[in-house]
Amino acid sequence: MIQVSGLEKTFGEKTVINNLSFSLVSGEILGFLGPNGAGKSTTMKILTGFLKPSAGSVSVFGHDVLADPVAAQKKMGYLPEGAPAYEEMTVLAFLEFIAEIRGFDAQQRRDRITDVVRKMSLQDVLTQKIETLSKGFKRRVGLAQAIIHDPAVLILDEPTDGLDPNQKQQVRALIQSLSKDKIVIISTHILEEVTAVCNRVIIISEGKMVADCSPSALEQESRYHGAVTIRLEEAHREAVLASIRGLAEVDSVDVASVLVGTCDLTVFGKQGVELYPYLSRFLTRQELVPLGMFQEKGRLDDVFRRFTVSEGVVGTDLINDAAATERSAAEKRQAL
């Protein structure tokens, strides 16, 4: 397991990480979220022993990263941001080098390299210099070196950044395919990635932890959670809007046009109201057939914005107190 306690990092006057503590056990896939400059990369650099923290400690399966970095680093695979590599080397020579450093003998190296080359589909570029590869391939080479020793801990700094949708899908599938007893930490600001691969989310903002929960709990934090979006023809908009707004169970309605000639009404229910069946019955009674209608699971970007734009730090207790944050969010919206 990984134990991070009281981690702090200051660069000169600037505090980049402020009293960060968490622990991870095997099987957890952590999505490490935060806006650019929030301290995600710095945290990962400290976890992997590249940077030294100003205060606090990190232990990886009992090995203190500061006191015994080599023992901790043996347990970890790391893809640094931008997947740096020795560009003048061929993919094969590079993987050979990493495998040798990881302490494998010639036979094991062959097996390991064959394995990661197959996993990352690198067969066709093995003899090419890394500098000649596309961004996607470079990223895959970086991932290959990170998993070559089948590490118990995998730390990936923006593994899908700059990849095309197919490549992103590939990388996610790879992360999911890793055996279930690993610890994986992925930093990203692509929110769909979190729901796709992670089972835990930590959001940091300005170096502080502002949320630590499961992706679904995070979705429930969204004001969109449980809201119902109805797609209508533009012509029906005003009539429906007026009647829905009049309903006792409805708190508010957002209007947006997504497609020309249609409009989307997102209806927010009052606290504790099961909105979907209620609205469905209501529309039927009104003899209105919507073009589409679905219940929102919650929008992560909405939650993300709320957690990271705010000044006030919201702790983990916030998840248990949805109503309070809902109110504070409403106030914030008005203030904006």
């Binding site: 680093q73 020795y86 003048e88 080397m89």
Partner: protein
């Protein structure tokens, strides 16, 4: 120790795969021959030795070695591969020594490729081959000293240009410290002990005594400890950067 050789081999290979090796060796051979024959008056002197060749080595190294050493750490920092290297399960000492040794072995290779000169002088006369061998060793040790300074300067900056200039400057100081003119300048007012220390720290003093054919323990100790001190400084600089900044 295993890691050290792995890193060293990787570095050495990269000299050749980036063509640095070929350019460096070519320029080194061309310049050292040009110096020997034109400036040194190899033929005109009518003496069967290689001192016109070795005498120019400190000046040749002054700009060739920084060109080789400037990339040691600056390039890793610039490309970000330093983050990869230092998060692999190796110690920083292994990384620093591996990189340094690769560069040092490479200069040894370039130096050994000047063997046709040695053959020539043996064909032309009857030189003191012991002195020539000692001079080769001395020259290689001196290159090591320059490289160790370069390693430290390269760790200081992301920019290879800055590393080059700083290395050249510091190497110049260590060469000039033993230059008779500079010593004379200080000798007129500074206490004798300071002048002696300066001369003792100079590459020229030690290299000159080696090229006379005596590879004394004192000179050997000077170069080896000089190298170790600067590599240790490299370690401190890299560690400092790890603690202080991204």
């Amino acid at each position: 120790m295993n890691h050290l050789t792995t890193i060293m081999r990787r570095e050495l290979n990269s000299y050749f795969s980036t063509q640095i090796a070929y350019v460096f060796i070519l320029i080194f051979l061309m310049l050292s021959s040009a110096f020997t024959f034109y400036l040194g008056g190899f033929y005109e002197r009518g003496q069967a030795d290689l001192s016109p060749f070795f005498n120019f080595h400190p000046w040749l190294y002054l700009f060739l070695v920084p060109a080789l050493s400037m990339r040691l750490w600056a390039e890793e920092r610039k490309s970000g591969s330093i983050e990869l290297l230092l998060t692999l399960p190796i110690t920083l000492t292994e990384a620093i020594l591996g990189k340094f040794l690769a560069a040092w072995i490479f200069t040894g290779l370039a130096l050994s490729l000047t063997f046709p000169l040695w053959l020539t002088v043996n064909y032309l006369g009857d030189p003191d081959n012991g002195a020539i061998l000692a001079s080769y060793v001395g020259s290689w040790l001196m290159a090591g000293g320059f490289l160790a300074i370069g390693s430290c300067m390269s760790a200081l900056s992301k920019s290879q240009v800055i590393a080059f200039i700083l290395t050249g400057l510091i190497c110049l100081l260590f060469v000039l410290a033993g230059f008779p003119m500079v010593l004379g300048l200080f000798g007129s007012w500074a206490p004798q002990i300071l002048v002696d220390t300066m001369a003792d720290l100079s590459f020229l003093t030690h290299f000159a005594s080696i090229t006379k054919g005596v590879l004394s323990f004192q000179d050997l100790l000077f170069f080896v400890s000089f190298i170790l001190v600067w590599l240790w400084a490299t370690l401190i600089v890299v560690e400092m950067k790890r603690g202080a900044s991204a």
